[in-house]
Amino acid sequence: MANCRMLLPPVRNRNLRRPHNRMPAPCKAQWPAACPSSDCCWRSRWCFPTSQPTEVPSTAGASSSRQPTTVLRCPPSERVGWLSLWPGDQQSRGIRTGGAGYGKRFGADIAGATSANMFGTFLVASLTHQDPRVLCEEAPQFQGVGKVRRDAVGDRAE
């Protein structure tokens, strides 16, 4: 798993245990550029860590030891499950967040529902002869649902 390597100001270890100090830090790349790695993801312009930041020992020498490198782990979409529905994860897939991204996703959903409706209730149903008229002819016992069935049963009972 690749990490988002960020240079953060030095913090004391006890501060890392405080929840308010676990806020995500910006990645090196400027938003909305591509993420530094495939496992790195944008969440509302911020890098989203899975666990608490962990300090790694600096290997560049004594000069940079005063500025430790903090590794924030960003979850890939496969690991966060339902969190992949977040707009931030859509950002990593090429869909922007914000009002424009919301509009695009809304339009894409509407278009998908419309095309699925066209295929499902018209084209495929016509090709396979499964439209409701054929079903009614082939299965005359089918009396519909809801009010139609209640009326039919009520008529029979009476």
Binding site: R93, G112, S115, A116, N117, G120, T121, V124, A125, E158
Partner: protein, 73 residues
């Protein structure tokens, strides 16, 4: 009777969605992922429709419709 239209319709729709989705959301895997989401939502919706009377009765969300009294007798 297998409802091919209900199964193939969303799949064709999601395949068509590759034409207007961004580059990162295209491909066979993304198509079948969206298709699985569609089937899942449809499954959940059918469950809710099927068991709504029991759910309504258990949670007492809405007053149950009173049976109509037979006229005459």
């Amino acid at each position: 009777m297998v409802s091919y239209s209900d199964l193939l319709g969303p799949l064709a729709g999601e395949a068509l969605a590759n034409t207007y989705y961004p580059e990162g959301a295209r491909g066979v895997g993304s198509t079948f992922t969206r298709y699985a989401y569609d089937l899942g939502w449809k499954f959940a919706g059918n469950l809710l429709r099927q068991y709504w009377p029991q759910i309504n009765r258990g949670l007492r969300l809405l007053p149950e419709p009173q049976p109509t009294k037979a006229s005459g007798g």
